[in-house]
Symmetry: C2
Subunit: 99 residues, 2 copies
């Protein structure tokens, strides 16, 4: 299994982020071809320190190749192109094979 | 559902981290009371930039309270106390309710 984590810094307008993310971006991401599961949360809190993130999205794919194909697809390009519309606090995206 | 993410920076000795983590730390974490699922991966890669992390662990609990109880338990204290034994590249720990 291959995982994608999208880690969002605190946006300028958290309320706008929340509603745009829920209503527009998550439906785009959840329609990625090959997506096995996806979930997200707001108001990310730190443990033993402050949280550098406001929102986390995580998704599972069968393999690194399946994620590559999802990102290269039309839906993937639409999803990636939408990120600047709300992610005003920056975004860190990482991926890894589950051990 | 409540999620815990443990994000490790690149350690001084990645091979030691790998073996210690797999053989000692993960068994401690997987025995946390109330843990619903847990998974991890090494060699975390960036997407559209460098990855600030080397290893990611993620875990699910029924609720924030269940995670609090897990951390306060004897097993939780043992698990947390073990982190400095291998996490020489720093660690960022965050938690959030799944929306």
């Amino acid at each position: 299994m291959h995982k994608l984590l999208v880690l969002y810094g605190k946006p300028k307008d958290p309320d706008h982020f929340r509603s745009y993310y829920r209503d527009v971006h998550v439906p785009l991401a959840m329609a990625l071809p090959g997506l096995r599961s996806g979930s997200y949360g707001f108001d990310v809190a730190g443990l033993g320190g402050e949280s550098p993130y406001f929102c986390v999205f995580e998704a599972s794919f069968d393999s690194a190749q399946a994620l590559d194909e999802a990102l290269a697809s039309e839906q993937g390009q639409k999803t990636v192109a939408d990120v600047p519309n709300y992610a005003t606090g920056g975004v860190t995206i990482v991926r890894f094979d589950v051990a």
